[in-house]
Symmetry: C2
Subunit: 205 residues, 2 copies
């Protein structure tokens, strides 16, 4: 693209560094900002600057937080002995939205993925192992996505925790509530049969 303005070109270049934003979309976004009152750009800029400079990770669960200890870890009503292992804050938000989970979280910050150069040492795995060894945790729930990377990470952590006596479980995989069996994929359907639950349990939810 041939811009008539260096300033415009730089803004478009930076905007198009964001994932899923190509040059054309970036140009549309930047031109939109130029058409809006200056305040909108200033608000965006200040929110991003503040976020980048002031954001913290909770020292206990590594979730994104404004404080040393996040709201969930600081809440005495949450069971500290039950910890759900997730990839990032989006998973925390998804589980919180169900309103069904009363334990705490441990945010790994990613999954083991040799292709992307992410090994166990880049993730928050050691702090989790330390917490378990201190005996603070009774049960761990694995809630990573069921991809190869997710399974690898689950298994790596599971091996690290061997001998600690902590109880481990993984969230149930099965047919979505309301889904038709005929459209379900075989792996999911197979797992939902293998991991069938007593009928009485299904009456509770």
């Amino acid at each position: 693209m041939d811009f008539s303005s260096k300033l415009l070109e730089e803004a478009v270049d930076e905007m198009s560094q964001l994932p899923g934003i190509g040059k054309r979309t970036a140009l549309r976004l930047v031109l939109h900002l130029l058409k809006q009152p200056e305040g909108q750009t200033l608000n965006l800029v200040s929110a991003l600057t503040k976020l980048r400079s002031e954001i913290k990770l909770c020292k206990k669960c590594f979730n994104i937080s404004d404080t040393e200890l996040c709201d969930i870890c600081a809440n005495p009503a949450r069971e500290a002995s039950l910890v759900c292992i997730v990839e990032d804050i989006r998973d925390v938000m998804a589980i919180e939205n169900t309103g069904q989970y009363r334990g705490q979280y441990h945010v790994l910050g990613g999954k083991i993925s040799p292709i992307d150069g992410i090994g166990p040492s880049q993730l928050n795995i050691q702090p989790l192992v330390d917490k378990v060894k201190k005996g603070e945790i009774k049960e761990i729930i694995f809630a990573l996505s069921s991809t190869m990377e997710g399974d690898t990470t689950n298994f790596y952590i599971f091996r690290q925790l061997e001998g600690t006596g902590v109880k481990t479980s993984t969230i149930a995989r099965g047919i979505s509530v309301g889904d038709e069996l005929e459209y379900a994929d075989e792996v999911t359907l197979g797992r939902s049969i293998a991991n069938r639950v007593p009928f009485e349990n299904s009456l509770k939810a």
Copy 2:
């Protein structure tokens, strides 16, 4: 969405003000920025700030420019008596990319659209009429999109220019080069027949 961090929430809120960016996409973009080195956020922020505070509109054609007079208007090789009327800088870039146009532009900054509260006075129409009345322009090419708003704007400008003796034309509408007739819409095909050109002309392009 329920965020664990006010800073994160504000950044997502501001990001989701951009057109076509919902809350979920905004969260993905903001989390991406958090994972990248701080420099990327700082570069984006400084590019946007500089753009918003330093950008100018060319005083002659109202195109976005870093200087008082844009490169096209300042270029003595471009015919100043031929002016193409476009909506915004994206149209200028599209026409420039063809490498076929040697005249100058006049950027309106939008189209007349009563629904969006945009009337003729919010667009750069009067400066165009003034330029024409000063006798600087011999021919005007209308290149707005062929929507109702585009046609209205064309017609409004056309009426404003009545009596000035300036020649007006509009870019040709027709079947795209390489397109099959059977898939063309009726309006376009109809126009391409009504506005047929001498066969010799088609040999030049």
